[in-house]
């Protein structure tokens, strides 16, 4: 059964005239993990906010647990948990206060709320800081508490918007552990991420989103296959780039990408080492001697590269600036 279904979602923000979602569809099988992978501005937060009933789509429809998010948002809210991109906590209150208050707002009795708060603080290793104001928490602690707050009533469907952005490697590992545990417990999870290894690690299914559209979907393995078995990389002198690209294209029969800074030409190949030999022979025929040539098993980075025409890591760096801008609004 599908726990989450979105069909042809369109959302345009009036301010800025941005078409954040441009006919995006997705679905998540009950008890599985879908990762929405995309660079900054892809529309990840927008789709999460629509599914979590915080935002109404301009057109298209979506159901969560079989319930329509536009028509019955209140019912949806009773079965979902959301941990947004920025921790949504009461900064002045303590970790304990936050969990108890949200528990009460989830209609738990005082006793139940306190019991649940104790459990969750324990589980997320926050017991020691439970009585401190959130203001004194590190980014990782905030993130964990925010996730804890979204688990108070054991949601059937959980939305996590970039759960590990801004965490150090150890914090990420910890968060991954927590998420994997949740999934073992049977929650249906939709998580967004800019990190390919994160999607690879946590998700059963991945959709790659760019400019509000799904540009690829499948399991991590399927996506790797989709762009061919392996990547061929050739580095040449500046003056030989054009000719080399032509040759690589002829051998690969697929999209050829150029990293201008590295003067590196890359393309997926399906014939393995014989493709390498072909390219070398053709290059030799026109008198080009590559500085470097290699055959590489594809990573999800390559998937992303070939699908969006730009590297994921690059857009992460470029968008850090944008994010700071967003934050300064606070």
């Amino acid at each position: 059964m599908k726990s989450v279904v979105a069909e042809q979602l369109v959302k345009t923000y009036k301010s800025g005239n941005v078409r954040a979602l441009d006919g995006l569809s997705l679905d998540v099988e009950e008890g599985t993990v879908l990762s929405v992978l995309g660079p900054n501005g892809a529309g990840k937060t927008t789709v999460v906010r629509i599914l979590a009933t915080l935002l109404a789509p301009d057109s298209g429809s979506a159901t969560v647990g079989g319930i329509d998010v536009v028509r019955s948002p209140e019912k949806v809210r009773e079965i979902i948990g959301l941990s947004g991109q920025y921790a949504a906590l009461d900064e002045v209150l303590t970790g304990w206060d936050n969990l108890v208050m949200f528990g009460r707002l989830y209609h738990l009795s005082k006793k139940q709320a306190e019991l649940r708060a104790t459990e969750l603080l324990e589980r997320f290793s926050l017991t020691d800081s439970a009585r401190r104001s959130i203001k004194t928490y590190s980014g990782g602690m905030r993130r964990r508490l925010d996730l804890a707050a979204s688990l108070i009533v054991r949601p059937k469907v959980l939305f996590l918007d970039e759960p590990t952005t801004g965490l150090d490697p150890r914090g990420r590992q910890e968060m991954w552990g927590v998420i994997e545990e949740l999934v073992t417990d049977g929650v249906t999870l939709l998580l967004t991420t800019q990190y390919l290894d994160e999607a690879d690690q946590l998700a059963d299914d991945i959709i790659v989103v760019d400019h509000g559209k799904v540009i690829a979907r499948g399991t991590s393995d399927a996506l790797k296959k989709q762009i061919g078995g392996e990547q061929l990389h050739v580095v040449v002198e500046q003056s030989n780039i054009a000719a080399t690209m032509e040759i690589v294209a002829k051998v690969s029969q697929a999209n050829v990408l150029l990293d201008e800074g590295l003067r590196r030409i890359s393309a997926p190949v399906t014939t393995g080492s014989s493709a390498l030999i072909d390219v070398l022979r053709l290059l030799d025929g026109v008198g080009i001697h590559p500085l470097d040539i290699a055959l590489q098993r594809p990573s999800l980075d390559d998937v992303f590269m070939s699908l969006t025409g730009h590297a994921a890591e690059e857009s992460v760096a470029a968008a850090e600036g944008k994010k700071m801008g967003k934050r300064s609004r606070k």
């Binding site: 979590a52 959301l82 947004g84 009461d90 949200f102 009460r104 707002l105 606070k330």
Partner: protein, 265 residues
């Protein structure tokens, strides 16, 4: 499954918890009005006192009570604005609670703060010689009336907090609302000394009708200039009541509505 009142009360508790976690808020919200009492009583009091029964302090205290209650509007507004900008609002909106619970809870919480503030000011007033002459029942009624006025104004605060883009703007907007209202009024001096046009404004000003009403409830007679005989001067209590109801009827629906839409912007 919705329990708007319980949910609102949980938010109210949160407001009170905030006061416990950040006692400075409570201290500053009481110190400021107490300073006003002392300032007007001892610094200006000497020159404005002329011919007032019981001295200027009797005249002054109702004015300061109303002013203080009016100024808490700014606190409500910045509290709301802060919640709106910190992403916290998303959490509330994804909870299965009535959308009105948050704003209702906040107004109730701020009214509770007003109780503490008014009590402290009453005590400070008593120390510097304020003695209402109307009896306990009427004094209590006056305080209830002040709380009700504060409550209605807190809805204006909610609205400002929702429409302002950041906390700085909130402070400016709250100032723009409360400052002219409290100073172009009868709160600190009789309006009889004002230019004619201002007297009309001052007498119809809700702050003035509130001050006049509380003065009556504390057992003091009001004096009027050109507007003597006008409806607000004759029936300040009724007029204040009408204002409060009008404010609530106007600002509750638009604030609740604004709150529902706010995360969509």
């Amino acid at each position: 499954m919705k329990r708007p009142l319980t949910d609102a009360l949980i938010i109210t508790r949160r407001q009170l918890l905030l006061l416990r976690r950040v006692p400075e808020v409570l201290i500053f919200s009481t110190i400021q009005p107490v300073m006003f009492v002392l300032l007007f009583r001892y610094v200006f009091g000497g020159s404005i006192t002329a011919g007032m029964p019981g001295g200027y302090v009797q005249f002054l205290m109702p004015g300061i009570f109303v002013q203080t209650v009016a100024f808490t509007l700014a606190g409500t507004a910045s509290g709301v604005a802060e919640d709106m900008t910190k992403g916290l609002i998303d959490r509330y909106r994804s909870l299965p609670i009535a959308r009105s619970a948050l704003v209702f809870g906040k107004t109730l919480g701020d009214s509770t703060l007003n109780i503490v503030v008014l009590m402290t000011m009453g005590a400070a007033g008593y120390i510097v010689g304020w003695r209402p002459t109307s009896g306990l029942a009427k004094v209590l009624l006056a305080f209830l009336f002040l709380l009700a006025f504060g409550y209605s104004l807190s809805w204006i605060g909610i609205f400002i907090g929702l429409i302002a883009k950041d906390v700085r703007t909130v402070q400016n907007m709250s100032f723009l609302v409360t400052f002219p209202l409290t100073f172009l009024s009868n709160a600190f001096a009789p309006t009889t000394g004002m230019p004619r046009a201002l007297q009309y404004f001052a007498e119809w000003n809700p702050v003035s009708t509130m001050v006049a009403a509380t003065r009556e409830l504390f057992g003091l007679k009001n004096s009027f200039g050109v507007t003597a005989g006008s409806f607000p001067s004759q029936h300040p209590l009724t007029m204040s009541f009408i204002y409060m109801i009008a404010i609530v009827m106007f600002f509750v629906p638009i604030s609740v509505n604004k709150y529902k839409n706010v995360a969509k912007r």
